[in-house]
């Protein structure tokens, strides 16, 4: 995984609560066996009509947001299916930061495995950011969002921050504890399946 870089970009406002992963990446695109190439399908059923023409009033079809790397959205983002394809699609499309009042647990966890920073902020601040038209800066090291008018601190677990900043391989980290895993297995009372 590439280390997370500070981001400076305008925000893409997607003002809707409870956006589920079926909307982020509809099921017809889950049949690929690789991780790449999902960006063109992100929010497919909102971006395109039945004839696959762009829906003009959907925010991702507004060229003003073409280079945005920051998605700002509503409460409980990423609920529903555990499909990591949702994160792969958002990342492949170009987002590296997602800001919302809250996230669904599995989606939140999936973000960190793919170098996306999910930031959970108070509803009022999220609403201000939804209306922000100037570029904003995200500094993960300092845990600060800088807008044209204010500096907004954000919380993040120190372990997750380290993983993003250093682009660490989760499994390689875990293998440092391999002796403890083996020890646990030796004492486990749960039998094998087979």
């Amino acid at each position: 995984m590439e280390p997370f870089q500070n981001v400076s970009s305008i925000v893409t406002p997607l003002d809707k609560v409870n956006i589920d992963t079926d909307q982020i990446i509809p099921k017809q695109f889950l049949k690929l066996v690789q991780k790449s190439g999902f960006g063109k399908f992100v929010f497919f059923n909102w971006r395109f009509d039945e004839k696959e023409n762009p829906v003009s009033d959907f925010v991702l079809n507004d060229s003003a947001y073409d280079n945005s790397q920051i998605l700002v959205t509503g409460d409980n983002f990423g609920c529903g299916s555990s499909r990591e394809h949702a994160v792969w699609a958002l990342q492949d499309y170009g987002f590296s930061v997602i800001i919302a009042p809250s996230f669904a647990d599995i989606f939140y966890s999936n973000c960190f495995k793919n170098g996306i920073l999910p930031i959970s902020l108070d509803q009022k601040i999220t609403e201000q950011l939804l209306a922000e038209s100037n570029p904003i800066q995200i500094n993960l090291e300092k845990q600060i969002i800088k807008t044209s008018t204010q500096e907004i601190p954000f919380e993040i677990d120190s372990h997750k921050k380290k993983i993003l900043l250093e682009g660490l391989d989760d499994i390689a980290q875990t293998f440092q504890h391999i002796d403890k895993i083996a020890e646990f297995e030796k004492n486990s009372t749960v039998p094998s399946v087979l």
């Binding site: 049949k31 409980n76 372990h159």
Partner: protein
């Protein structure tokens, strides 16, 4: 120190614990399917890693598989590739696979318990959010993303921040168990606490309303914990649990001695504290029907569809969401639920496609015909369920009523196979998600119990099944 059931199972699986942040927990059972695993196996290959414990890993194919004639080739090439990829991965890494022709094939959350793979007090993961189903046996069962699938394949462990324990108590003795079912209980819970009400928690379901339920009904409850946003759902095991798992194909040889341990330990201590609590009375619950585009947008079958104001309780964002949902569903506030006409019925999914679900639905269908403007199908949750149902003659009851009787799989719950709604179709579905387009682009889903779906199939619209003479 007093502990909840969840805390006991958690504690017995922690390998590495830190002052703050996630702990490394051991995983006893890893269930694998074709959609969320190919990239994980690729990751292992790229890093020259092995599957640490193939003996704790079981695979099947369920999401993509056609439910029509299995002797025919799979027409959708991308589905076929995904299925072949799972076959190759299982062969390369030495994992037991129940393939499309296996008598043990089925929806992963239906076959786990049926085969005795699911065990009380164990940790179970699968790259599928409905893994919460297995919590009905007192397991800590978690849905995970593909990166964690790879992590568990490689290390038989995963990093997880400890969720908070949340008690949902269902009080009272149910008066009409054939009309008000586990599905109605869980939809009613989600309606009350919301789709984010369980975020960051593991729910333990308690109370007589839960302990009176059969194992299959308990699975329906735990299955939809994720629809309330919870990391998992659990029910303390009892004699019903131990009886269910006895003498299954993979029930451990030392099962009786395990039961002795579980009987003493796998329960919440009487003075243990939950971080959050919610109580409801089972006799306040009516048959439920969802009207919107998330499972919290649900009401009683006797209700009218609420206005966005009534639904949102003054929350502007929820109000906007409700209006958008009504637009998508092409429904008007004030319409009586019983006046909503449907043209499709799906009885299936990991929520409601077990033998008991099919038996209960067949009682409504027996001797009747599906309404002439409705197309209806039954997709058993596993090939074992299908066989047992056929031994009871349920297939004939459904077929004589003009239902289609299919092979096992996830099918129209998410429509990755050819079983999908067409734009504008309105479906009474026993599945778990009514999200926009979930069952097919432009399709409209109403979540209901198997008996409610069966009654809707016969009548062409929703009916209150409490009016039927169900025994």
């Amino acid at each position: 120190m007093s502990e909840t059931l969840f805390e006991k199972v958690w504690k017995s699986h922690v390998i590495v614990e830190k002052e703050s942040g996630p702990s490394l927990i051991y995983i006893d059972r890893h269930l694998v399917h074709e959609v969320t695993s190919p990239q994980a196996f690729d990751g292992l290959r790229m890093n020259n890693r092995q599957v640490r414990r193939p003996d704790l890993t079981i695979a099947t194919m369920d999401h993509n598989v056609p439910t029509s004639d299995r002797s025919l080739p799979i027409l959708d090439q991308t589905s076929a590739v995904q299925i072949q990829t799972l076959e190759k991965n299982c062969k390369d890494f030495g994992i037991t696979l129940f393939d499309i022709n296996s008598p043990n094939q089925g929806i992963v959350h239906v076959i786990g318990p049926q085969l005795g793979i699911t065990l009380p007090g164990s940790t179970i993961v699968c790259g599928d959010s409905h893994t919460s189903t297995h919590g009905a046996f007192g397991a800590l069962a978690l849905g995970i993303g593909t990166s964690d699938v790879e992590h568990v394949l490689a290390s038989q462990s995963m990093w997880l921040e400890k969720p908070k324990p949340f008690e949902i108590k269902v009080e009272g003795k149910i008066k009409n168990p054939h009309a008000v079912t586990a599905k109605d209980i869980v939809l009613s819970i989600i309606k009350n606490i919301g789709t984010g009400g369980g975020t960051g928690t593991v729910i333990e379901y308690t109370g007589q309303g839960i302990s009176d339920l059969s194992m299959e009904q308990r699975m329906t409850i735990c299955n939809m914990s994720i629809e309330a946003g919870a990391r998992a759902g659990m029910i303390a095991p009892d004699e019903k649990t131990f009886d269910y798992l006895r003498d299954r194909k993979y029930t451990p040889k030392n099962y009786e001695s395990l039961v002795e341990q579980w009987r003493d330990t796998l329960k919440t201590d009487s003075d243990a504290k939950f971080e959050k609590e919610f109580v409801l009375d089972i006799n306040d619950i009516a048959p439920q029907v969802s009207w919107g585009t998330n499972p919290g947008m649900t009401c009683d079958v006797t209700d009218n569809i609420p206005t966005p104001d009534e639904y949102s309780n003054g929350d502007e964002n929820q109000k906007k969401g409700a209006q958008k949902a009504l637009d998508y569903m092409d429904l008007k506030s004030g319409t009586a639920i019983e006046d909503i006409k449907i043209n499709r019925v799906f009885i299936g999914s990991c929520t409601n496609a077990r033998l008991e679900d099919l038996i209960e639905a067949s009682k409504v269908v027996n001797g009747q015909k599906v309404s002439s403007d409705v197309s209806a199908m039954v997709v058993p949750g596993s090939q074992m369920v299908k066989k047992q149902a056929e031994e009871l003659g349920l297939d004939k009851i459904f077929i004589n009523a003009n239902f289609e009787w299919r092979e096992a799989g996830c099918s129209m719950c998410l429509g990755m196979n050819p079983d999908i709604l067409s734009p504008g179709d309105r479906c009474a579905s026993t599945s778990n998600r009514n999200f926009e387009g979930r069952q097919g682009t432009g399709g409209r889903t109403h979540l209901v119990s198997p008996v409610m779906a069966a009654a809707a199939a016969i009548n062409g619209h929703f009916v209150d099944v409490r009016k039927l003479d169900l025994k």
